[in-house]
């Protein structure tokens, strides 16, 4: 049933393409319907998995032969990690549609590309055949390019091209790794479950692991391959930057975990420290750079680099608590970054047509847009990792794991959290709580619309719910990292490393 998340998105795209161009309202409703249905399937899949957990943690959805000569299969399956990210995609997709309600320029094409992107993302999270995963991974890149290049702002062609090129370089590395693994494995298939049984020689793992890990992690904003992220986020239209930060960056982290780390545990053991250091640099560096940005969206863009550093650091702890914290942080950051980008892009920029913090400071937006200001304050608190929101439980777990694996790194990651407070407060006060009482009143800004309120409430409710009751997601995530789990268990089993 979970496969319908993919099919519905592409079906919605097809319907949109057949629609006459002068029916923007219908286009919106179709997009909303498709994303809502996707979310409904995701939720029902999650509930079903929780109520009837499969014995070996892997829920096979469909498995048919695709191309016999190469051993390709159309193999969709899910474990708790995929389900967590599928749920995230469903939520962010609905919110993104709501925050794109005001797209008037080529509306139906916008939503068609948007749904194509979402379908590709669902596909990546549900593919257990790695060739199929790669195909979906590529499908997701193309609509991203068009969304930014056509509907973006601020150097949109440059941002779109940079993002596409970075993605393709990453894909190329992944593809080389996949082909090499196919040849070495000799199982005549790309099936993840087959490959995980294969004891790849250590000398092979040592070079193919970094190739695949970095290839995927480029999309997760691994320092120093992060520079696509800020420019891409800034150039993208609101919904695209929500998806970019909320979901696409998770594709990278997911691939790095699901493919590179799972298949090559000996490679992980060799590269654990260098990658953890890169993650740590990303945390502190992203936060510091965010502190001095003048463009509101750049602040959030760099904050994403910093927060994704926590994901990568958590992955490198190779401890149950750190790994589950990393997956939880993927979910949490997806929700919170999506919300922050929605406030900046949709609520503020679409009304004021500027993102320059100095210009915003003179507008007293807290008076003009109290809902936007309130949402940003709460989302900012969530992003800073205050208790009660999802970021706290995720980062706490990553820190506990990091403390056990490498204590001094945990201290530095903590420094990143402090700077995180500083850049958010600075941006928040400049953007919303500036004081220029002598200025004549600005022309009134449009009030916040109902779809915006609904989208903000959806995301806020999610981050608070996970912050108060993280067990809901942990029940999905933890069995996947259990030492006896067929896939990821290899990371926590010990001894293998």
């Amino acid at each position: 049933m979970l496969a319908w998340t993919i099919y519905l998105s592409f079906f919605g795209m097809a319907v949109l393409m057949l629609l006459p161009a002068d029916r923007p309202r219908a286009a919106r409703m179709i997009a909303l319907g498709a994303t809502l249905a996707g979310l409904a399937f995701a939720v029902s899949g999650v509930l079903q998995y929780r109520n009837h957990p499969p014995a070996d943690t892997i829920l096979t959805i469909t498995q048919v032969t695709w191309l016999r000569s190469l051993g390709l299969q159309y193999f969709l399956a899910a474990d708790g990690i995929s389900l967590t990210l599928v749920l995230l995609t469903g939520i962010v997709a609905v919110a993104g549609t709501l925050f794109s309600w005001n797209v008037e320029h080529r509306t139906k094409e916008f939503f068609a590309f948007y749904l194509a992107l979402i379908g590709g993302v669902y596909g990546v999270f549900l593919s257990f055949d790695l060739f199929l995963l790669f195909v979906f991974y590529e499908i997701a890149i193309i609509p991203k390019y068009f969304l930014i290049a056509i509907w973006g702002s601020t150097r949109k062609e440059y941002g779109a091209m940079k993002l596409a090129l970075y993605s393709f370089i990453g894909s190329a590395m992944v593809l080389v790794g996949l082909i090499a693994t196919y040849v070495v494995a000799g199982t005549h298939s790309f099936n993840l479950l087959d490959w995980v049984q294969v004891p790849f020689p250590r000398s092979f793992q040592v070079w193919v692991f970094p190739l695949m890990f970095v290839g995927f992690a480029i999309l997760a904003g691994l320092w120093p391959f992060h520079t696509w992220a800020p420019t891409g986020h800034v150039a993208a239209p609101t919904a695209a930057s929500m998806l970019l930060a909320g979901v696409v960056m998770k594709l990278g982290a997911y691939g790095a975990l699901r493919v590179a780390m799972t298949l090559f545990p000996m490679g992980v053991a060799v590269w654990q420290d260098p990658i953890a250091i890169l993650a740590l640099i990303g945390i502190v560096y992203g936060a510091l750079v965010a502190l001095v940005q003048q463009d509101f969206k750049f602040v959030i863009g760099y904050s994403s680099v910093s927060h994704m550093g926590f994901v990568l650091l958590g992955l490198m702890t190779l401890q149950t608590v750190g790994l589950s914290g990393a997956v939880l942080q993927m979910f949490s950051h997806g929700i919170i970054a999506g919300l922050l980008f929605a406030v900046v892009g949709r609520m503020v920029y679409d009304r004021t047509h500027t993102r320059d913090l100095n210009a915003l400071e003179e507008m007293r937006l807290s008076k003009a847009l109290p809902f936007a200001a309130g949402t940003f304050v709460v989302a900012g608190a969530a992003s800073m990792g205050l208790p009660g929101f999802s970021g706290f439980v995720a980062e706490l777990q990553v820190l506990i794991g990091a403390w056990q694996a490498f204590p001094s790194y945990a201290v530095l990651a903590g420094v990143g959290i402090i700077i995180g407070v500083a850049y958010l407060l600075r941006a928040q006060q400049k953007a919303f709580f500036g004081d220029m009482p002598e200025k004549p009143a600005e022309p009134a800004l449009d009030p916040i619309t109902i779809p915006e309120r609904l989208g903000a409430l959806l995301l806020l409710a999610t981050t608070v719910a996970v912050g108060l009751y993280p067990q809901f997601l942990l029940d999905l995530i933890l069995p996947a990292f259990h030492p006896n789990a067929p896939l990821m268990g290899v990371l926590t089993r010990g001894g293998v490393l």
């Binding site: 510091l288 608590v321 903590g414 402090i418 500083a422």
Partner: protein, 700 residues
């Protein structure tokens, strides 16, 4: 388990619910917001009193009264993070104090914030704060304590920046949040370390808690870098958090600036409750601080550090308070100084000593702040003590209660609570085996406290009224934001309405009576904390009186000297130089500029951070960006080179080849043009050539 111990969670949850309801109701519903906040707080107060009453019941055993309730919040792998609450003397008396002071300050705020347009939101934030603070207080888990800790920080940020249209308030809010968060980093790391080493964050869990013997033995047995016991390292990290929240030197800089918030906020959060949370934390984890590795006897390192930091803060802040001119900033520095005394008390004498001063201080400092609020309210928002003065006849109730608060703070003997609680700290400091210096510094601090409070009271209430002369430029922030001016500006100071004076009276009664719970003759509070039965014994006075006498001497000296400089009719004009400044100009200037700590941070930490951020930004914009662009241009260059190669080598060769073929074809085709004459002509020429060739060769 007694019902109240089981339902202790209601105490924080009621104000939390009130905050949630206020958050979604409209701004106009002022009466609803205020009644919800006050009503929920009143119920919480009654519950807290019931809980306290329960802990007063004598137990059969002599052990400390303690009931806990815990549950698992979330589990990962084999372990879980647990939350829970605890009812023991420490949490019971803190809960009563917090709910009572909050209740009084909520009532006071109804009057004080009456003209403000964001009245509703104010009560929402106050309720949120109270909920977080109460959650912190009843926590039986370091994690729950940390959660409350962070949320009170958030509420404090929101309330300091409540008048965010003042740039100074917005800056102060940011500074407070970031400074305390620096301390919180230590707290967080200490918590993670503690959890990683002992596997639980529950304080008391039937022998398995992290504050109980088995876990502590584990921590003291391990050593970390420098041969330090792990317990000491964790203690110091957690104390960093307490330093940030309780404004201990060198993290004190945020607290005076926090006075930019509305005065009830200063009274509740930045004097009575939240800033005392650091002291409470130290009291709560005292068993850890006290734990010593088996081979080391005597006072643990952590307690020594706490005592020294406390006493240095106490004197340092008291010195600065002497030279300030803002009525609230003087009280803020005084708060820092008194928090130092509490830390000193815990460091040298244990939990009960520090906590007793915390409780008495909460009453008289809340009283002083609300009194200052009443003064500010009555004098057109004037906060500069040089422009106040002569308020005694105008504001009799405020004056009387303020005087009680001042004498309690200064430690005037016998009738005022501050005397007894401070006396106990000095007592323990004198008996401290490590050093006698904290005792002497404590006496100097007592002298300075008496001096600066005398100065303040003389400035504010003595002499003649010096305000009302200048134009109203800086006046009345509150009416600026309100929809219509609430009241016509009044020329003369006026007494505040009863909603504001009634809480003052209640707090004044507390400031007078509370001290008698902890006198040397009847040390009830001390015995209650340690689970002993208490009795009256006059013989203890015999060993106690010397310290009491010396302390009294210092206090009287401070009062007398203060009167000598500022009393009577010595302050006449607002522009007049401070009498002490004329006496000690150099010292006074340094004190007024607060020992230049802010400037020092500005020059080092803030600039360093800005530099690092700018450097990274430069790196990102120029180095990485250049790298990316360079790769891009390299690729473009390669493409161009390929294109040129394609155009001029590959293509040109092909084209030239084709051209040649075409040309030769044309040549041939020009020969084969289909005209008989030209064919015959060629045949004739060929024939002639053939004949000539043969003839020349001689063959013919």
């Amino acid at each position: 388990m007694p019902w109240i111990a089981q339902y202790l969670w209601l105490i924080p949850v009621l104000p939390l619910a009130a905050a949630a309801i206020i958050a979604i109701c409209r701004q106009r519903r002022r009466r609803l917001a205020a009644s919800l906040a006050i009503g929920s707080m009143a119920v919480s107060f009654l519950l807290a009193v019931a809980a306290l009453a329960l802990t007063l019941h004598p137990r059969t055993s002599e052990a400390v009264w303690r009931e806990t309730f815990s549950f698992s919040w979330f589990e990962f792998g084999a372990t879980a993070l647990q939350l829970g609450w605890v009812l023991d003397p420490l949490s019971a008396c803190m809960t009563v104090m917090v709910t009572l002071v909050s209740l009084l300050i909520f009532i006071f705020s109804v009057g004080y914030m009456q003209p403000d347009e964001n009245f509703t939101r104010f009560f929402g934030f106050l309720s949120l704060f109270a909920a977080a603070m109460l959650g912190l207080v009843i926590a039986n888990s370091l994690l729950l304590l940390f959660i409350g800790w962070e949320l009170v920080g958030l509420a404090s940020y929101l309330l300091i920046g409540f008048w965010y249209h003042k740039p100074s308030a917005a800056a102060a809010a940011k500074k407070a949040f970031i400074t305390t968060r620096i301390g919180d980093l230590g707290f967080l790391l200490g918590m993670v370390w503690w959890y990683a080493s002992s596997g639980t964050l529950l304080f008391y869990d039937g022998g398995n808690g992290c504050l109980e013997a088995s876990a502590l033995n584990l921590l003291t047995a391990q050593t970390t870098f420098g041969g330090m016991a792990v317990s000491t390292a964790i203690s110091l990290l957690i104390f960093c958090g307490a330093m940030g929240k309780s404004g201990q030197v060198p993290l004190h800089v945020w607290l005076p600036d926090a006075m930019e918030g509305p005065t009830p906020v200063s009274a509740l959060i930045h004097a009575a409750t939240m800033v005392a949370a650091g002291v409470f934390l130290v009291a709560r984890v005292y068993p850890l601080l006290d734990a010593n590795p088996a081979q080391l006897a005597g006072i643990s390192t952590a307690l020594k550090v706490i005592a020294w930091v406390g006493v240095i803060t106490a004197v340092f802040a008291a010195c600065i308070a002497v030279a300030q001119t803002d009525i609230k900033r003087i009280l803020a520095y005084s708060t820092i100084s008194q928090l130092g005394y509490m830390m000193l008390g815990i460091g040298v004498g244990g939990v009960a000593v520090g906590m007793f001063h915390l409780l008495t201080h909460a009453f008289f400092k809340a009283l002083l702040f609300l009194g200052a609020g009443s003064v500010i309210h009555g004098c057109q928002e004037e906060q500069d003590i040089r422009r106040l003065g002569g308020l005694k006849p105008y504001m009799p109730i405020t004056f009387a209660t303020y005087a009680i608060g001042m004498m309690a703070l200064a430690g005037v003997p016998v009738f005022f609570s501050g005397f007894w609680s401070k006396d106990e700290i000095l007592h323990q400091a004198m008996a401290w085996p490590v050093s006698r210096v904290p005792f002497y510094l404590g006496l100097i601090g007592a002298f300075l406290t008496a001096f600066y409070m005398t100065r303040q009271v003389c400035y504010v209430f003595g002499g003649a009224y010096r305000g009302g002369h200048r134009d109203n430029a800086a006046q009345n922030l509150k009416s600026k934001t309100s929809e219509e001016p609430s009241q016509p500006p009044q020329k003369h100071p006026h007494e505040s309405p009863w909603v504001m004076t009634a809480p003052l009276i209640v707090l004044a009664v507390g400031a007078l009576l509370l001290g008698f719970l902890g006198t040397p003759v009847w040390p009830w509070f001390h015995d209650y904390f340690n689970g002993r039965h208490s009795g009256v014994d006059f013989s203890r006075l015999r060993e106690a009186w010397p310290v009491m006498a010396i302390a009294t001497l210092f206090v009287v000296a401070g009062l007398g000297l203060g009167w000598r400089f500022y009393g009577g009719k010595r302050i006449v004009r607002a522009e007049q130089a401070d009498p002490l400044e004329a006496f000690l100009p150099g010292v006074f200037a340094v004190l007024r500029r607060k020992f230049l700590v802010d400037e020092g941070y500005e020059a080092t930490v803030i600039r360093g951070n800005a530099f690092a951020a700018a450097a990274m930004n430069w790196l990102d914009r120029h180095v990485w960006e250049t790298g990316v662009l360079a790769i891009g241009y390299l690729t473009l260059g390669l493409s161009w080179a390929s294109r040129l190669f394609d155009d001029y080598v590959v293509n040109l060769g092909f084209d030239t080849g084709c051209d040649r073929v075409r040309k030769s074809a044309k040549l041939l085709s020009s020969v084969q043009n289909g005209q008989i004459q030209s064919y015959l002509r060629i045949v004739a020429v060929a024939l002639a050539l053939l004949v000539l060739l043969l003839a020349w060769g001689g063959g013919l």
